[in-house]
């Protein structure tokens, strides 16, 4: 394993870069999309709620691989040219946004009972109450689950290997098929993933404990 790491240091590191890059971009994007759909899901208008619900239900029940591959082969054929990294990252973003929408909706609902009426009765508008009262509290509540979503994103970004997205798993597959040393290569790739995900998951567990008891 050590020889794989030292001999293919460059490829592994660049793969790690693509993995992290894709995960971070997808996290930011899916936070935006997810928040929009979470707000739609708790809207006072029935049809807006309907759209939000439908989006979340559909995306949650389709495999990430199907969404990603779909973007990779369908979008360039009919719309714009996007490469594997872009297609994979958009796929990750869309897929994760459904889960983030659920997380944020649950957070808002946990906070908002009573609080919203209280804020409104003091004379705040709906959006003022949302921005100043509800969302800040909801954010604290959703940070640990969002951290866990980020860990999932890092793991899930391995689907980029299916669409030539230059990520860690893609590099690992190529190293394995040129060195024929499958065992050591995947061991090394595993270590690289764990370096990111393990500390993060312990941090999230710590935050969960701290904020739940606080």
């Amino acid at each position: 394993m050590i020889t794989i790491i030292t001999e293919h240091w460059g490829e592994l590191l660049s793969g790690l870069g693509y993995t992290l890059g894709s995960s971070v971009i997808a996290l930011i994007g899916s936070l935006v999309i997810g928040t929009v759909f979470a707000l739609m899901e708790i809207s006072t208008y029935k049809w807006v709620r309907g759209i939000g619900r439908t989006y979340v239900e559909i995306i949650r029940n389709i495999p990430l691989l199907v969404i990603t591959m779909g973007f990779y082969v369908i979008v360039p054929t009919f719309f714009v040219k996007i490469d594997g990294f872009t297609a994979g990252t958009i796929g990750l973003m869309i897929y994760t946004s459904a889960f983030i929408a659920e997380t944020i909706r649950a957070g808002i609902e946990a906070v908002s009972t009573g609080q919203m009426e209280g804020a409104r009765s003091v004379g705040l508008t709906y959006s003022q109450a949302m921005i100043h009262i509800i969302l800040p509290q909801a954010v604290k509540m959703v940070i640990p689950p969002l951290g866990n979503q980020f860990i999932n994103l890092v793991k899930n970004s391995s689907v980029l290997a299916f669409v030539a997205g230059f990520d860690l798993m893609y590099q690992g597959k190529i190293i394995a098929s040129t060195t024929f040393n499958t065992f050591d290569t995947y061991l090394a790739v595993g270590v690289f993933y764990l370096i990111i995900t393990m500390p993060l998951s312990y941090l999230m567990r710590y935050l969960e404990k701290k904020w739940v008891t606080a």
């Binding site: 949650r60 389709i62 199907v66 591959m69 082969v73 899930n156 391995s158 393990m198």
Partner: protein, 222 residues
């Protein structure tokens, strides 16, 4: 439009259904195994046996933090070097079971922890043994709490079987890929079919769990 409909010829549909059958087979067997092993592991981590729980916990954490794709590669390509040789369907089942057991163990552990404190002491002080308290007081409540996360984990499992196409598991996704690999006009129809079939299977699963949840909470009130 004609091309679009041609994609859903009887021959192609039957080939897709063959793949769906493999998806369901692998999912169901993995769900059963990972439910049993995950519960045991979760209990093992909760019970706090010296060293043992710590080691189990650490292994669970490692597996939970690795991509499933990597675990698939390992079971198919690397386990043979320690003498475990599996063909593609059992290899997929073993990989899914390893990964999902670790996920379920965590759900079970946190489910029990959420219920256990207080309840356990109350039960013990009423004269129940540890096992009795676990069996009659803690587990039923914890289980009810765990149903939603467990079911969403199972839905993940069904979706995740599609990743096993990387080791050529002849599942729904792989069969769709074979069909559109042979005729470019079938790309979109096949993705539509894939999305629709996975959606139906998983939506039915999630509705069934909602029904189960409602039934259980009603029985609690009665």
């Amino acid at each position: 439009m004609q091309e679009f409909l041609n994609a859903y010829s009887w021959v192609n549909l039957r080939f897709l259904l063959d793949g769906l059958w493999v998806t369901i087979e692998v999912s169901v067997v993995s769900i059963i195994f990972s439910f049993i092993i995950g519960t045991l592991l979760g209990l093992g981590r909760y019970v706090q046996v010296k060293y043992f729980s710590a080691i189990v916990g650490f292994i669970i954490d490692i597996i939970r933090n690795l991509p499933l794709l990597l675990i698939l590669f390992f079971t198919y390509f690397s386990l043979p070097s320690i003498g475990i040789r599996l063909s593609v369907v059992p290899a997929s089942i073993v990989a899914m079971t390893i990964f999902e057991s670790a996920m379920l163990a965590e759900i079970v552990r946190s489910g029990i922890s959420a219920v256990a404190t207080g309840q356990m002491e109350a039960a013990r002080s009423n004269g129940l043994t540890y096992l009795q308290a676990m069996r009659y007081i803690v587990m039923p409540q914890a289980f009810r709490k765990m149903i939603p996360p467990i079911v969403s984990q199972f839905i993940s499992l069904v979706k995740d079987t599609s990743l096993a196409t990387i080791i050529l598991l002849p599942d729904l996704t792989e069969h769709a890929q074979i069909i559109y690999g042979q005729n470019v006009n079938y790309v979109i129809p096949m993705f539509v079919a894939l999305a629709a079939i996975y959606f139906v299977v998983n939506f039915v699963l999630s509705q069934a769990s909602r029904w189960l949840e409602k039934r259980l909470s009603r029985s609690k009130i009665n």
